[in-house]
């Protein structure tokens, strides 16, 4: 059975990710960094990381590979991925590497690679880079070509904060002196989020899991099932809301004052609404994201562009159409180009607090006014070679739907939709169903599941 295989190492167009030890080794990390350094052609490269115990080990390997390629390394230490991306773009570095396996468990680590603007490479560039890696066609510097390592530990945070704060009305937020819950999963947001919320936005915090020296106390992905502790804290301590991050601070989960964890699509919807209030422009989201975004954009007279799943795809489209806000509702990713083309939990925090301060309403009522949809997500394993017939079976089961094949199969009706796509990393089909009525949603999900056998 295909799914029984453990996916301990993945080297592909999205970089390199694996279980540290036998799989993700110092040599692999250094080789990949050297390939990257060769690809960007030397020059200044920024290196940061999240709080995983393997971070320093991988960081040394990455620095080694970059130096060997003739790059000048600027270490920024433990920082959220979006902060690193902002810094790469703002300091005109040649590129950047974030050492983080994002929402994967603690035994994993990975390299996220950024270009000179602090963006993920586009798909063509990623293809070139991986070819270069496979050919081991690295630049090997001679002694005279080898540059050094420097540290810049304070400036990145300041740059990031300033960009976010320039886009919201911070004074009323500070005046409200919100009491907030925070769960940073002992990740890269542990220190940064406390500083951002306390010192920049005048909030009082009920913070848990904000010790970067400790391991992740809960599964790394901030899904509703694992946020019970911070949710209880928000409810019991009278907090206005709670924020929860993943280890590298790109994803954001939000808990309302009653202790309910909002659906990721609703978080994105809230932020899209808040941004469009302040900044006119269009929206781009991935195919799986809720139709609630379309409803909200419509109320602002704006258009929504749909893209394949994946941050790089969304970013590419946003740049092409000049979207002012976008993201991936399915995974808690908010992308706000005015700060940086990347998933940024701090943009999310600031805009939600901005709305709260501007309206004076509790979060639960803001959320209740969002377009109401019912959603059900699931996954099904498939045997290699069976993907095509399965997709055809789903299509045949719903002959009346409008079809979008940009990424897998999306079946669309006026008030409901189905999205079925193969995972990029495992032999799994991911299903996502959305409808205006709960019964319709359940019925659709059951029909898709049976079509997939």
């Amino acid at each position: 059975m295909a799914t029984a295989r453990e996916h301990n190492l993945k080297i592909g167009v999205s970089g390199i990710r694996g279980v540290v030890g036998e799989f993700l080794t110092p040599a692999l990390a250094a080789d990949f960094a050297q390939a990257f350094g060769t690809y960007v052609g030397g020059g200044r490269v920024v290196v940061g990381r999240d709080t995983r115990s393997s971070g320093p080990m991988i960081e040394h390997a990455v620095c080694c590979g970059l130096l060997a390629a003739g790059c000048e390394v600027v270490r920024v230490g433990i920082l959220p991925t979006p902060t690193i991306q902002v810094y790469v773009g703002a300091t005109h570095a040649r590129g950047g590497i974030a050492i983080t396996a994002s929402h994967n468990p603690a035994e994993y680590n990975a390299l996220k690679l950024f270009n000179h603007e602090g963006l993920f490479f586009n798909s063509y560039e990623r293809g070139e880079l991986i070819d270069l890696y496979h050919q081991s066609d690295f630049h090997h510097s001679t002694n005279a070509q080898i540059r050094g390592i420097s540290d810049d530990l304070e400036r990145p945070m300041r740059l990031h904060f300033d960009r976010v704060l320039a886009r919201v009305d911070a004074a009323p937020i500070r005046a409200h002196a919100f009491r907030l819950g925070l769960d940073a999963v002992n990740g890269a947001g542990s220190i940064v989020s406390q500083r951002f919320l306390r010192e920049e936005l005048g909030c009082t915090l009920e913070a848990i899991a904000v010790d970067p020296a400790q391991t992740f106390p809960r599964p790394a992905e901030p899904t509703p099932e694992v946020l019970g502790e911070v949710a209880a804290l928000v409810r019991d301590r009278g907090c206005a809301l709670g924020f929860a991050q993943d280890p590298d601070g790109d994803r954001l989960a939000i808990i309302d004052e009653t202790g309910r964890v909002l659906d990721n699509n609703d978080v994105l919807a809230l932020v899209v609404d808040a941004v469009l209030v302040r900044l006119p422009g269009d929206v781009a989201v991935n195919l799986t994201t809720s139709a609630a975004i379309d409803d909200i954009a419509r109320t602002h007279g704006r258009r929504v562009y749909r893209t394949p799943v994946g941050e790089a795809n969304v970013v590419e489209r946003m740049k092409a159409v000049g979207a002012v806000i976008g993201g991936e509702g399915s995974s808690g990713g908010i992308i706000f180009p005015a700060v940086q083309y990347c998933r940024d939990s701090y943009t999310g925090m600031a805009f939600v607090l901005d709305r709260l301060a501007a309206t004076g309403e509790p979060l639960s009522s803001l959320a209740a006014r969002l377009p109401r949809y019912f959603r059900k997500m699931g996954k099904a394993a498939f045997a290699h070679g069976r993907l095509g017939p399965l997709m055809q079976a789903v299509e045949a089961a719903f002959p009346d739907a409008e079809i979008d094949r940009t990424d897998g199969l999306k079946l669309i009706w006026a008030d409901r939709s189905i999205h079925v796509r193969a995972s990029n990393t495992e032999p799994l089909l991911r299903m996502s169903v959305e409808a205006r009525q709960e019964s319709v949603c359940q019925d659709l999900y059951a029909r898709v599941s049976s079509a997939l056998g």
Partner: protein, 456 residues
């Protein structure tokens, strides 16, 4: 220009010219992983490097490899190899790695490996390390067992304190000494030594450099003659010393402004150490001057001749009890003293020679003048490895009248002269050395060279 074989992986470690086709990041990482696998689980490893720019790149890779195999790393930064070895013992570490290419030009680098107590690896241990490296089956600990890296800045002072326990700096303060640091680690050591013990040294080429050294970092008499010796008299110095980049070798200029042969470092130290040492054995390679036997004879010492190369010296050391041995070394100016636990260390050698000057109340030129005169001629010729056995056989037949030693190529001794023919380990050449008590052994040297050229 890159020699045909710049990269060399052997029992003494790994060295080569950094860059394409030579020493790369991957070599450093894989060797560190092998060393981490070889060492007992969990022990800390001390890491030091010389100032070459490539040292930073290699040290990052080494830290990663050691951490991944579960070893904490104690990073000393830019220090001499002897300071690294000293710190291993003081800190109770499981081993150590020194990154530096000693007397080689700036574009070279190398990794040297040490066991606990800072000793060089024995041949058996080095073989095991090489096997692990070649197999590339490393023992990686999971994400929970990774080693941590920390910096340590007290290593130099602890080392200097030990030197001050052995050498009487009050007696050495009278000497005005000029030192050519060749932009290497000796500058850091001697500057601190001067601060702490108020020694009137004059340092030149003191600033540590990563890319360009003031001159070839070689402790040969030729370099001393070109760079240091001309400065000694103008500076009114009592002696001059010149170090290689990682301070394990030293060379001498006399107060008269002459470059002493690098061969003289070992006899001077033997002269100083033997009278105060319980051990009377001197371990020296087959190419080192026969003056050693005469000096040893004056103090009841004996010279044990071994093949060229550090590993042969280590094997000879391990075949004896440490207290039997006074010193070990080679004619290049790399000498280890038993008092300092057999570490090639130019700094302890320099202090030993200064102590001899203080004890005798004589300048170094006069001490050297008191030794019988030996003259050495050195040369080399290209030779394909397949022709080596035939050459050695021919030489054995031609010089059948002398006492022959075939431990390393061929050495033939007569009462007043000898020659040694050996094969280079890095290039397809044979090296010829001939020495004679009195005038230079032109006749013998020419006869041997003629035979060598005839085969090449």
């Amino acid at each position: 220009m890159t020699p045909a074989r710049s990269l060399r992986i052997s029992h003494v470690g790994l060295r080569g010219i950094v860059g394409p086709g030579g020493l790369t990041a991957r070599h450093g990482i894989d060797f560190a992983c092998a060393f981490g696998t070889f060492l007992p689980e969990g022990g800390a490893v001390v890491l030091g490097r010389d100032p070459r720019a490539s040292g930073l790149m290699l040290s990052e890779g080494v830290k990663s490899g050691l951490a991944a195999t579960g070893h904490d790393v104690i990073d000393l930064g830019v220090v001499s190899t002897p300071v690294t070895q000293h710190a291993i013992r003081r800190l109770g570490a499981a081993g150590g790695i020194s990154i530096g290419a000693s007397h080689n030009a700036a574009e070279w680098n190398a990794l040297k490996f040490f066991g606990q107590n800072g000793t060089y690896l024995s041949t058996g241990e080095a073989s095991e390390l090489l096997d692990i490296y070649h197999l590339r089956k490393f023992h990686f600990t999971g994400y929970r067992g990774l080693g941590a890296v920390r910096s340590e800045s007290g290593a130099l002072d602890a080392y200097l304190t030990e030197l001050s326990d052995v050498y009487d700096f009050d007696h050495l303060r009278r000497f005005r000494v000029v030192v050519d640091c060749c932009n290497g680690t000796s500058g850091l050591i001697l500057r601190r030594l001067m601060e702490r013990f108020h020694l009137p040294f004059v340092l030149i080429n003191e600033r540590v450099e990563g890319v360009e050294f003031a001159h070839e970092p070689n402790t040969s008499a030729r370099i001393v003659g070109l760079q240091l010796a001309p400065l000694v008299q103008p500076l009114k110095a009592d002696a001059g010393f010149l170090f290689d980049v990682d301070s394990d070798r030293v060379a001498i200029a006399t107060e008269e402004g002459d470059a002493a042969s690098e061969e003289m470092v070992m006899p001077l130290l033997a002269d100083y150490v033997l009278p105060r040492s319980e051990g009377k054995l001197i371990i020296a390679n087959l190419s080192t001057t026969a003056l050693l036997e005469e000096i040893a004879g004056r103090h009841g010492g004996t010279v044990v001749r071994v093949p060229v190369g550090r590993q042969a010296a280590m094997d000879a050391l391990s075949a004896h009890r440490p207290e039997q041995i006074a010193l070990a070394g080679e004619g290049t100016g790399a000498v280890m003293l038993s008092r300092f636990r057999f570490v090639y260390d130019g700094i302890t050698s320099m202090l030993g020679i200064l102590s001899l000057m203080a004890e005798r109340g004589e300048p170094v030129s006069r001490i050297l003048a008191g030794y019988p005169r030996y003259r050495m001629l050195k040369g080399q010729a290209p030779l394909a490895p397949r022709n080596v056995p035939a050459l050695l056989l021919a030489l054995q037949q031609e010089f059948a009248g002398g006492r022959q030693n075939t431990l390393d190529g061929l050495r033939v001794d007569w009462p007043n002269e000898w020659f040694h023919v050996r094969v280079s380990q890095t290039e397809s050449i044979v090296r010829v050395i001939a020495e004679r008590r009195g005038d230079a052994p032109h006749e013998l040297y020419n006869a041997v060279m003629e035979r060598v050229w005839g085969m090449s």
